[in-house]
Symmetry: C2
Subunit: 310 residues, 2 copies
């Protein structure tokens, strides 16, 4: 059974065709998976630097993680209960020469070669904050004031094939993570939501901050989504790109003690740490800039360029 590919709206299809025509994006043959041309990547890497500079100037520690996560961690995290449809797992071959030959022959004919593949100890990275929690927990109790980590513009995976150029299966999510006392964490989350809004407005984008919920799976998920909204655990910065609805360019998430309990992260004076993370979607922000200011970043308004090409 093949996962259904979400269609694009007329606006989205036209925008994607323009992006490919201008060499900003490169088609791979799979919906939601693209290469970046030089101009797209230049804007994206400037944004990456800008976000890391904002974090560094406020004391963030820079950590970086690969695009895979230990399977055991995904299993323990609860992710598969909430987002089973978005997770990706890594399989590989561990057979003999005869099996290798059969696998290779079937694959070359584009026939099913799944019987030769087995689950490994790895999954794709669902969100760049996941590896941060155990890394901090391993250090022992938090220092007074807690920690602030910049996990950078990391590749994350969501299995949701779509022809909307703003809905990728794999993209850079720039995540900042705060771990500490409950009040400090909540205040940090709210300050960064305002800072993110200010940045997007300074970039000339028609941004609005709104209450939101994660795309939880199934009926149980609808209840989780309702609770999340009621408790204002997720805020999003919404900007119209192409198509009828605005797109979330960044999200600001409060986890209370969920990850602190899961990974045993202790406050300096005892007690379970609270956590919050926020994620800026690099590609979506660049797409919003291209849609708003035109397909040639060199011709964007000077005030916008000054925000990134400093």
């Amino acid at each position: 059974m093949a996962t259904q590919v979400r269609p694009a709206s007329e606006d989205q299809a036209e925008f994607l065709a323009q992006l490919i025509g201008e060499g900003l994006l490169l088609e791979s043959g799979v919906p939601g998976v693209y290469g970046h041309g030089a101009a797209f990547e230049d804007a994206r890497s400037r944004l990456d630097e800008r976000l890391s500079a904002e974090a560094a100037s406020r004391g963030a520690e820079r950590l970086r993680f690969p695009p895979v996560l230990p399977r055991r961690q995904l299993e323990s995290s609860g992710y598969l209960a909430s987002f089973p449809h978005l997770a990706g797992t890594v399989y590989s071959f561990d057979g003999d020469e005869r099996q290798a030959a059969a696998q290779s022959e079937r694959a070359a004919n584009h026939e099913d070669w799944g019987e030769f593949q087995e689950m490994t100890e790895l999954t794709l990275m669902p969100a760049a904050c996941y590896p941060v929690y155990p890394a901090i927990a391993r250090r022992g109790p938090l220092p007074p004031g807690g920690v602030f980590v910049d996990a950078g513009g990391a590749w994350v995976f969501r299995h949701e094939p779509s022809h909307d150029p703003a809905r990728r299966q794999i993209f850079h999510q720039h995540e900042l993570v705060r771990i500490g006392e409950p009040e400090a964490v909540l205040q940090w989350r709210d300050e960064w939501a305002q800072r993110g809004l200010d940045l997007l407005l300074a970039l000339g984008l028609d941004a609005a901050l709104d209450n939101a919920n994660d795309p939880f799976f199934g009926r149980r998920g609808r209840m989780l989504a309702t609770n999340q909204r009621q408790d204002r655990l997720k805020l999003e910065l919404l900007v119209p790109i192409a198509g009828p609805e605005p797109t979330a360019l960044a999200s600001f998430n409060h986890h209370r003690d969920h990850f602190g309990s899961t990974y045993g992260i202790e406050l300096a004076d005892g007690g379970v740490a609270h956590t919050a993370c926020l994620g800026f979607g690099h590609e979506r922000i660049v797409l919003a800039l291209l849609r708003t200011h035109g397909l040639d970043p060199g011709a964007w308004p000077a005030a916008v360029r000054e925000q990134l090409w400093r």
Copy 2:
């Protein structure tokens, strides 16, 4: 059947413990998968910039690709015939609520949940040059002189779990790709092998250029390896890191018309293009620097630092 994990030599185990103790690498719980601390990542990103600057000054076009490749492309490429043991495939869930609940429960107990996962249209990226060939082929016949692409410090995957810190399952391979006339491509490969050697020597590393072969699978692979060596299709820059044998920090590969034929890349005046690619292993180069000059990059010799912190 779980893939066997290669043990580390005593030197390698000691070096890995030092890297983790100093916060340069962060353990994930899976051998060959690590996070990077700030000092490691600073050195790695300086190296990334230096390599891209060398390429840009010689006319390279900057393209960037995600850490996944369309499965169909892997199937057509011949990779599974040569390296079935190294490939990673991406699986996901496409079931209903009942299945999602069963999967989540089994996963939470660390039991087998593979029956709920199906092969997707994606695999992990085996080498960063793979997406370059179809992207260039799609443009039509090459311009006169061919093309030179900098695919950047891309994440690539090799399923070979090991406790040697220099043998990662996922790492940044900085790939440069040349596509054009046979003589021009071979000359470019050889010039870059010399340029790479000069760079590693300038970084104070005990580097040597040598003839090499890929880790082809099985008995057929031994024949392929012998042919590859005889025809000098693969050169490597070898540097001792930790342990008994020197490690390849970079490779310089000549494919003749293999990819040109596979993807139908035509020369400006007709005929099949030749291709070459070279890959610098970011993490291995940083490890060699740390092993050679000490675990504090701030205390490396000035002549070495000037090469990267310009």
